[in-house]
């Protein structure tokens, strides 16, 4: 089986006059197979979010390649990226902030299909179906982001990400801003969607316990480098690197 996402020797460096080049992401390689959930853990500043931005091409890589479904997308620009974004989508940390405050949730959810020229009736029907799959009534299409709770908004954001039938979703701390009870519901939703659609997830998270519960594999990131990788139970029960050991010990 071919990986849905392959990252090889990926780096992002920032240079400032008179200072050494700073590597936010430092020669990182990993694969995500179709239907697999890969967790990335590490502290703030370890480069987790930078990896998400590199893979979604919001910023350009300094070295290395990113392949999605066998296609090298590292250097693609503009219109060339449109078909790529049909395969990879993202869900963000602050659900309310990820929607335009002056537009309804429905506008945000339907935007990707509108840009593809799908008719209004068709895209709204699909959005309604996805909202219901994500546990929200169809009327939520008419709501504005400030009229719904954080958990409801995150469900809408997941529906938005699913509109173009992607193969892989990136979650950048997507449950961190939610209450534990809501977090649990969202995780259950993600597990159910993953089974139904055979989706792959890249799950960026600083909560090791959640990663252990939810992910198939995990990568531990420190100072932009992968310091450990493996099955979550392996990494948590028998950490090999000093940093992973410290991370596990710090948990209450």
């Amino acid at each position: 089986m071919e990986p849905i996402l392959r990252v090889t020797d990926l780096s992002k460096s920032f240079s400032r006059a008179g200072k050494n080049e700073f590597f936010a992401v430092d020669h990182v390689s990993f694969d995500v197979m179709p239907g697999e959930i890969l967790g990335i853990v590490g502290e703030s500043g370890s480069g987790k979010s930078t990896i998400a931005k590199l893979i979604t091409r919001q910023i350009d890589a300094t070295t290395g390649t990113i392949e999605i479904d066998g296609q090298d997308i590292t250097k693609l620009t503009g219109r060339q990226l449109i078909p790529v974004y049909a395969k990879i989508q993202m869900v963000f940390q602050t659900p309310t902030g990820s929607f335009d405050p002056r537009r309804t949730l429905g506008d945000g959810i339907c935007e990707s299909l509108r840009n593809k020229g799908v008719s209004k009736a068709e895209r709204e029907a699909k959005a309604r179906g996805l909202l219901e799959q994500c546990g929200l009534p169809g009327e939520f299409l008419e709501r504005y982001p400030h009229q719904v709770s954080g958990g409801q908004c995150q469900r809408a954001a997941i529906a938005r990400a699913l509109m173009c039938d992607p193969r892989i979703l990136i979650f950048d701390e997507a449950t961190s801003a939610l209450d534990v009870t809501v977090q649990k519901q969202i995780i259950e939703l993600l597990q159910q969607l993953q089974k139904e659609k055979n989706l792959a997830y890249l799950f960026i998270c600083h909560n090791l316990a959640l990663v252990q519960q939810f992910c198939d594999k995990v990568i531990v990131l420190y100072d932009g480098k992968i310091v450990e990788r493996g099955l979550p139970d392996e990494v948590i029960l028998h950490p090999q690197s000093d940093y992973a050991r410290r991370l596990v010990e710090a948990i209450f």
């Binding site: 502290e43 703030s44 954080g150 209450d179 534990v180 009870t181 809501v182 977090q183 649990k184 600083h206 909560n207 090791l208 316990a209 959640l210 252990q212 519960q213 139970d233 948590i236 029960l237 410290r246 991370l247 596990v248 710090a250 948990i251 209450f252």
Partner: protein
């Protein structure tokens, strides 16, 4: 044991709508009380009521909050000022953001000390350095001379705790003090607060949604939902043998590390 702070049937309303209903609890010297609940459950509102921080629209509509023989919601602002900071200290979710960005930590320490009594800079610095030592800051001098943005999130939080402890208050109110931090740094801040209790005998009320933090430090726990007390008791009892359905649901939603 004597009671330091006594909430009696407290109801708090915003614009006439009650958001906290009939909450009673007691805080004893040196006790750490955890207030837990989801967003909007009223946990921050409860401690803000004691500090007089409910703003224009909020007020305590029923019940009393007794501290040193005084009912805090009844006190005029002038008297509150003698209590806030001096007898009841407070630390916030993001201490870095609650400090002035254009003054060094040292300048802000001098400012907060001189709000309560006359001090000169050298005296203030000597007091602060002694406190920094007790809190085992590695380089107190550097903290004193730094602006908040020059310190890490965790260090800002520890500096915030230090500033709150300058007046040696009997009670420290902590509103989500670890929620903005990484796990490794969270542990440092929790240890800092435990250290404060051991060194100064301070009673602490910690407001948090993080059950892990509460289980690591609290002696007693009060669980809130929609402004109502769901359960109140010794931390061990509440965590290990919850009686209330909501507490059980809350505890079972917390992802736990298997190790």
């Amino acid at each position: 044991m004597s009671v330091l702070l006594d909430y009696q049937h407290v109801e708090i309303s915003f614009n006439g709508n009650a958001v906290v209903h009939d909450v009673s609890f007691q805080l004893h010297p040196g006790e750490i009380l955890g207030l837990v609940g989801e967003s909007g459950s009223g946990k921050s509102t409860l401690i803000k009521a004691a500090m007089g921080l409910l703003g224009e629209s909020g007020m305590v509509t029923r019940g009393d909050i007794w501290f040193e023989g005084k009912n805090l919601p009844d006190l005029p602002e002038k008297e509150m000022r003698k209590i806030c900071g001096e007898k009841i200290g407070m630390i916030f979710q993001d201490c870095g953001a609650s400090m002035s960005p254009i003054r060094t930590i040292g300048e802000q320490i001098v400012e907060s000390l001189s709000a309560h009594h006359k001090v000169d800079v050298h005296e203030a610095k000597a007091t602060a350095m002694e406190l920094f030592d007790k809190l085992r800051f590695k380089d107190g001098e550097r903290v004193w001379n730094s602006y908040p943005f020059e310190l890490s999130g965790g260090m800002n939080q520890r500096a915030g705790i230090a500033i709150a402890m300058l007046m040696n208050p009997a009670i420290l109110m902590a509103d989500e003090p670890t929620s903005a931090l990484d796990v490794a740094v969270q542990r440092q801040v929790v240890e800092e607060m435990l250290n404060v209790r051991d060194v100064f005998g301070t009673a602490i009320i910690i407001v948090t949604h993080d059950i892990g933090v509460v289980s690591a430090m609290a002696d007693s726990i009060l669980v809130l939902q929609n402004g109502n007390v769901m359960e109140y008791g010794k931390a061990k009892d509440v965590l290990e043998n919850p009686q209330n359905d909501y507490t059980r649901k809350l505890l079972s939603a917390v992802p736990r590390l298997r190790r």
